[in-house]
């Protein structure tokens, strides 16, 4: 079939025409082989521009289209849509970026014009070798994998599960509930959260559309939003692995308190009756706050910010739970004197400050301090610190509670690697953007919520959980169809020698090895066309549709002519 190539040059207002002599460009390219139209437009991406382009494609019965305009990042999709409307396969278009890559950066006008001509000639050479590609559609998988059965994971599962959508809730330990399970009461309401939690866990376990996989670990995730395949290993049931097909993944693996024994000055692990917050929480939950020797404490120091300097961030919840501990003590050991050794109070929002004010009293004092250290003096414990004036003070107490910094779980790095998402500088999961995508990640379809993203309160965790669930509900609608990449990799069996280099460099797990035929095969629904396989294949068996050898060869040949 004879080729009828149309070349359209956008002036982009004056962005391009100020620098490039459009008429000269038209004159040069109009006479090139197969070029039947070469004309310019003021602003091709405007509604008028698009309509006229569509009309011209039809009028001239163009078979291939070259648009010389701006970056494909701006308008590749725009012009592909025009092609579609004009009845032309959108992959028969080549967009040339003569704005960012020429008009804006080449100083000299004559040289810019020459360069634009060369770039357009190159595109014409390439577009001749373009072939029609068809985008296929698949129905999205609306099922969701939630990793981590703490409050975030529970909340999300309950929000998402419905007859059209199965939620797989994977939990590493044998029970659901996560960290919050260990708290008797929660601030600021001092309500018995464990009761709320138990109810929710009960609902999860009974839910027809939630599959709970406890004692299970995430091993692999491949695929993309709407079409993931996850492998989960169950550590009981004789180490069974299960493959789960889901459309989205939410990581809610929580956090852990850091170990204060690393910081010597607090004497943890060395001195009796120096406890971590979690140990105190459990002591309280057991119904009895007592010293090692069984007697009740008479004076307690709660040390805030243990490890904050080392970590470089505030753990957000310690000030509030320290106040909560003071309430526990007030209830169980009313006469005990409680000193809260803080450096900065973190009591933001509409309820925390009131909670703080209502907690403080004759027996509960805030002590602003720095350089806190715990040591043994005679029979008691001495807590030394520098007061606001910089003078050293010493408190004699019989119990010390440390509020250690909250850190990422030891699993965070591994899970991030499996999911293909980055970690923030502190090792928590990195959100896509603090304000534009606080529960999304750089990997589309992988969401995060709760303390895995950073230390936070139960209320903030629930807010994030609801946010992540909302994003999934609005986009992963059961039955909705989605287009899959057309510019995928293809592996020619007759060239493949089975070295598997492509498999080791594939970022999407889209290539598998056919052991019988000894060749690699691409799963085109998972492939995103990144080209790693084509680059690693010495045989030229792997190639990318729409970046074929012919296309690139023609492009380079013309560009260097």
């Amino acid at each position: 079939m004879t080729k009828r190539i149309g070349v359209f040059i956008c002036e982009c207002g004056t962005n391009i025409s100020d620098k490039i002599d459009i008429n000269k460009v038209i004159e040069e390219v109009a006479s090139l082989e197969d070029v039947v139209v070469a004309e310019s437009a003021k602003l091709l991406c405007s509604p008028e521009g698009r309509i006229s382009l569509e009309k011209r494609i039809k009028q001239e019965a163009l078979t291939h289209l070259v648009v010389a305009a701006c970056s494909p990042r701006d308008h590749q999709q725009t012009f592909m849509s025009v092609c579609k409307r004009a009845g032309m396969n959108p992959y028969l278009l080549q967009l040339v970026n003569i704005r960012e890559q020429c008009a804006w950066i080449t100083e000299d006008s004559a040289r810019a014009t020459e360069k634009a001509i060369r770039m357009i000639r190159t595109a014409i050479s390439r577009v001749r070798y373009h072939v029609r590609l068809e985008k296929r559609e698949i129905v999205v998988n609306s099922d969701v994998l939630v990793v981590g059965g703490g409050i975030a994971g529970i909340e999300i599962s309950l929000m998402l599960a419905c007859p059209d959508r199965t939620v797989y809730l994977v939990e590493k330990s044998t029970i659901l509930g996560g960290m919050a399970r260990r708290f008797e009461r929660v601030f600021p309401g001092m309500d018995k959260y464990s009761e709320v939690l138990e109810t929710k866990i009960g609902r999860v376990l009974e839910h027809q559309n939630i599959r709970v996989l406890t004692a299970s670990d995430l091993e692999q995730i491949i695929g993309f939003y709407g079409n993931f395949e996850a492998r989960v290993r169950c550590k009981i049931e004789g180490e069974v692995t299960r493959n789960l097909n889901v459309g989205a993944v939410v990581l809610t693996i929580g956090s852990q308190p850091s170990d204060p024994s690393g910081i010597e000055k607090y004497g943890y692990g060395e001195i009796d009756n120096v406890l971590t917050a979690l140990e105190f929480e459990e002591m309280n939950r057991s119904g009895q706050i007592a010293l090692c020797n069984g007697s009740l404490p008479t004076s307690v120091a709660i040390v805030h910010c243990v490890g904050r300097e080392e970590k470089g961030y505030c753990s957000e919840v310690c000030c509030m739970y320290a106040l909560k501990f003071a309430r526990y003590l007030r209830e169980r050991v009313p006469y005990a004197k409680v000193s809260l050794l803080y450096s900065e109070m973190c009591i933001p929002g509409k309820t925390y400050q009131r909670f703080c004010e209502e907690t403080l009293g004759d027996n509960v004092k805030l002590v602003r301090s720095s350089n806190v250290r715990v040591w043994e003096k005679d029979e008691g414990k001495a807590v030394s610190y520098l007061d606001e004036g910089g003078a050293e003070q010493t408190l004699i107490v019989d119990m010390v509670i440390l509020a250690p910094a909250i850190e990422p779980t030891s699993d965070a790095r591994r899970i991030a690697e499996i999911a293909g998402i980055p970690l923030s500088i502190d090792g928590f999961f990195a959100e896509q953007h603090e304000k534009l995508g606080p529960v999304a990640t750089s990997k589309e379809g992988v969401f995060i919520a709760g303390c895995a993203q950073g230390p936070k309160s139960i209320s903030d965790t629930l807010v994030q959980a609801d946010a992540a669930a909302g994003l999934i509900l609005s986009s992963l609608v059961p039955g909705r169809r989605m287009e899959v990449e057309a510019e995928t990799s293809q592996i020619l069996e007759s060239f493949c020698q089975g070295c598997r280099s492509c498999i080791s460099v594939c970022s999407y797990g889209a290539i598998t090895f056919d052991e019988r035929m000894k060749v690699a095969r691409v799963n085109e629904v998972i492939c995103r066309g990144c080209g790693n396989c084509a680059a690693s294949c010495p045989s030229g068996a792997a190639s990318i549709r729409h970046s074929t050898c012919d296309q690139i060869y023609q492009e380079i040949t013309e560009a260097t002519r």
Partner: protein, 377 residues
């Protein structure tokens, strides 16, 4: 196979049966006799007498004619093992005997799914070098004499240039290694380097003795000498070959036969890209190019072919010299590749064929590599 050069912990003292070949053959016969392995893949002189070929031997009597260390590298052993095992390794337990460079290529090929070593035991020996193929074919008898003399005292001036600068000649990366260096009139050393090797030693009732300090010194001496020569040649060679115009000059006599690619054990592609239709174009293209440049050498792309091959295999190149032996135009192609490979491999701290567990550099990502090309440095 986890040990590398010089890591051997101990050696078996094999009774010297009148030379390395005879000693190794006797060992192989013993192994076959006891049934530790079922067949031996080993070079043998062809009936005409003027060449060598790998032969898969099942008949123990035929082992007498084997030549474990022939004067030449006729077919690269890596290629042979690949042909034997790529499509399935069968049930036979095979011992493959070859030079260290061939063995290293075999290991590289295993990483690329081109050899299957599950039923193969790799055996090698200290290698004094090999004679250039052309030189040997011109005078097989004289060649054999020269080689035997060189093998005696490790004077390698008459051997292939690539062998004279080989510093991996004593590398132990297979299952078993016959130490020519460090042996004496009464004993030769047999070093095991893997569980497979250990198992054979155990089943043959051999005992592992002390590590030979003589061998350590000897290996060091030979390696140092070769390394020194390598450095000396490198600077001289670079002045002739480095830079694009020098390289073009060095490849000027290339006749595009692609023999170097065909004999290279690591050019494992089914069809070389440079032999494919991808590099063939309509006449107009050639005429256009001729017009643009004034003239065009045909077929074009000689430099691109060599650079392309270099890109594909220089990280794995074991400097076996097969390419140079096969070059009818006497291009020192093995040396060119060897010096380039040196640099490429050092960049990734990679020694091809050292250990099957060392991943090919381009298939793994390490955070702490290639900082020299970081943008901000």
């Amino acid at each position: 196979m986890s040990n590398s050069v010089g890591d051997e912990t101990g050696a078996v003292r094999l009774a010297n049966q009148g030379g390395a070949s005879a000693t190794l053959i006797s060992f192989l016969k013993q192994g076959m006799d006891v049934g530790v392995f079922d067949a031996v893949l080993v070079p043998m002189r062809v009936p005409a007498g003027d060449a060598f070929a790998y032969v898969l031997i099942r008949d123990i009597a035929l082992l007498d004619d084997a030549c474990p260390l022939p004067p030449i590298v006729a077919v690269q052993g890596g290629k042979v093992v690949s042909r034997l095992t790529r499509l399935g390794n069968g049930d036979l337990k095979v011992v493959a005997v070859m030079r260290p460079c061939e063995l290293r290529a075999t290991i590289e090929l295993a990483k690329l799914g081109q050899t299957n070593l599950s039923n193969i035991t790799l055996v090698s020996m200290d290698c004094p070098g090999a004679l250039a193929l052309a030189k040997f074919i011109k005078d097989p008898e004289g060649g054999t004499e020269i080689f035997e003399k060189a093998a005696q005292d490790w004077r390698d001036e008459d051997l292939r240039p690539i062998c004279q600068i080989c510093h991996h000649a004593t590398m132990i990366s297979g299952d078993l290694h016959l130490g020519l260096l460090g042996g004496d009139e009464n004993h030769l050393l047999l070093i095991s380097n893997s569980e497979k090797g250990d198992e054979i030693v155990r089943r043959l009732g051999l005992t592992i003795g002390e590590k030979s300090s003589v061998r350590v010194t000897e290996v060091q001496r030979v390696t140092q000498k070769r390394l020194a020569k390598r450095e000396e040649w490198r600077s001289e060679f670079e002045s002739r070959v480095k830079g694009i115009s020098n390289l073009i000059n060095s490849l000027e006599t290339c006749i595009n036969c692609h023999n170097c690619m065909r004999v290279c054990p690591l050019c494992y592609c089914r069809l070389c890209y440079f032999d494919s239709e991808n590099v063939r174009h309509p006449a107009d293209d050639y005429i256009d190019q001729a017009m643009a440049k004034g003239s065009l050498r045909l077929p074009p792309g000689t430099l691109l072919f060599h650079l392309g091959r270099m890109t594909h295999m220089s990280l794995m190149c074991v400097s076996c010299g097969a390419c140079e032996d096969a070059c009818p135009a006497s291009i020192p192609i093995a040396q060119i590749f060897s010096f380039v490979a040196d640099k490429a491999q050092r960049t990734f701290d990679y020694v091809p064929g050292r250990c099957i567990d060392d991943a090919l550099p381009l298939t793994v990502y390490r955070e702490n590599e290639l900082h020299e090309v970081d943008e901000d440095e």
